[in-house]
């Protein structure tokens, strides 16, 4: 194996962090990863379930390459990949890592556009619009228009403290809030797509839709 080290493995409180070099060939990374997991770090890596965070530095990888990284790490039965993160600016913008937090009242005639997820602290008034490639979360009243997943992401959702929109759009689906949407109670709600049809439910139900693996501490 090469004398150069491309991969640094660090132990942190809740698992391991794999720091991958961002200038070498991707194949070299995979080779070294395989070598380390199978040979040098054998003892360290055996035992109970360990969460792994993979940090790519400035490297950009596509979904295929991410999957290959996961496959290598998964071969070691007790390792669970929690996240693969890149610090590349384009990756940050495109990925869900980029949650933009904004404090504003979006008034009539104003539009907020963003690549990624948006968290708005404030209201969207009738005539105002939010347009995002990712999810939209509004801590306030959504009375205007919101378009989540505007590049075609049908998994995007729109959540608001008070969901009273003039119109909602997710990916290519446009919906006007029918009467039954207006629940009248103060619960926070979100809109999502189910089989190409827009539905609205209480935000407390959102985790059932997402089915994200959540790692709680102290259990």
């Amino acid at each position: 194996m090469a004398d150069k080290q491309y991969i640094t493995i660090k132990g942190v409180k809740d698992g391991l962090v794999f720091l991958l070099d961002d200038r070498c060939e991707f194949s070299a990374l995979l080779d070294e990863l395989r070598y380390k997991l199978e040979n040098t770090h054998q003892q360290l890596l055996s035992g109970p379930l360990v969460h792994v965070q993979v940090k790519l530095g400035n490297r950009r990888v596509n979904e295929d390459e991410k999957e290959r990284l996961r496959a290598v790490i998964r071969q070691q039965g007790n390792l669970l990949v929690q996240s693969i993160e890149s610090e590349h600016p384009a990756e940050m913008a495109a990925g869900r890592l980029a949650l933009k937090v904004m404090t504003a009242i979006v008034r009539s005639g104003q539009t907020v556009e963003h690549e990624g997820d948006l968290l708005l602290l404030g209201d969207v008034n009738p005539g105002g619009a939010l347009r995002c490639t990712g999810n939209i979360y509004v801590l306030g009243a959504l009375r205007g228009m919101a378009h989540a997943g505007c590049d075609g992401d049908e998994k995007a959702v729109i959540a608001a403290s008070l969901l009273r929109p003039t119109q909602l759009r997710i990916a290519g689906v446009i919906s006007r809030p029918p009467e039954e949407w207006i629940s009248g109670d103060a619960a926070m709600e979100y809109a999502f797509l189910q089989d190409g049809v827009m539905k609205v439910d209480k935000t407390t139900q959102l985790h059932r839709l997402r089915k994200e693996s959540v790692f709680f501490k102290g259990v």
Partner: protein, 263 residues
């Protein structure tokens, strides 16, 4: 050095000119030196409402184009010595003056007057830009209708971008319709627009009557709208005046007084 206040709304017909005329008169009534500026070039109305139409010699466009001095164009009110009006031209249009020219005039007027009240035309184009150019703060007039609130919201957004602080007047409220839920109430409007409330003005037939007579309502103390305008004028001066109850019997609207704490 006085203060310039622009009265604007976005939507037409909500009572910008009536509000300008009455606030200008009410401030003069309180002993302030006031000049009202009509920037609605081509559709001037302020002179009609004030009953000064027949006294106009020069106008705002004449001043802008150097045909006369600013002092020559000012029309003195027939009721107050310290109340003046700079009329708009009726024959030209909004593009005949620039925001810079209006700003210079307002700066000039601020030197000699405690308050310069600028009556803004409807819309958000050139006329609006002219009107807000020299203003230190803005009064947004709206009525309890969705369309008016929508336009007010648009204008507030534009004013926020030019960092002009604005306060709200809700005009032409009808107590019986609010009560029956057919009209937006004050709280609904304040929730949407999220700016400080300067005052509410009840719908009053006397306003129309007196506007036609060329006599601002505020001169008639038996009119409820007049009392509302006088209260607003006092709030502009910094006094704490509670919101008037919409109906004669008080109590229901005392909760709206909290808006005044901010306002």
């Amino acid at each position: 050095m006085g203060e310039a206040i622009v009265v604007t709304s976005g939507k037409g017909g909500v009572g910008k000119t009536t509000t300008s005329a009455n606030l200008g008169t009410a401030l003069a009534l309180l002993g302030k030196k006031v000049c009202m500026v009509d920037t609605d070039i081509g559709l001037r109305n302020l002179d009609v409402v004030m009953g000064l139409e027949n006294r106009i010699i020069y106008d705002l466009v004449d001043v802008a184009q150097g045909r006369c001095r600013l002092q020559q164009a000012l029309v003195k009110d027939k009721r107050f010595d310290e109340l003046y009006m700079l009329p708009a031209a009726q024959t030209k249009d909004k593009h005949d003056v620039t925001p810079e020219q209006v700003k210079d005039m307002v700066m000039e007027l601020k030197k000699d007057h405690d308050y310069v009240i600028i009556d803004c035309p409807a819309g958000i184009e050139q006329g609006f830009r002219n009107a807000v150019a020299g203003a230190d703060r803005a009064i947004i007039v709206t009525t309890p209708e969705n369309a008016a609130v929508r336009d007010a919201d648009r204008v507030i957004g534009l004013l926020e971008q030019s960092q002009l602080p604005s306060k709200l007047i809700i005009n032409r409220i009808r107590a019986n319709m609010v009560k029956s839920g057919e009209m937006l109430d004050v709280e609904d409007i304040c929730n949407i627009l999220a700016i400080d409330l300067l005052g509410i003005v009840p719908d009053d037939e006397k306003v129309i009557k007196s506007a036609n007579a060329g006599e601002p309502t505020v001169m008639n103390p038996s009119s409820r709208a007049a009392i509302a305008y006088r209260n607003i004028a006092r709030r502009i001066l910094g006094d704490m005046v509670p919101l008037m109850p919409l109906e004669e019997k008080s109590g229901v609207f005392s909760r709206f007084r909290k808006f005044l704490g901010i306002g």
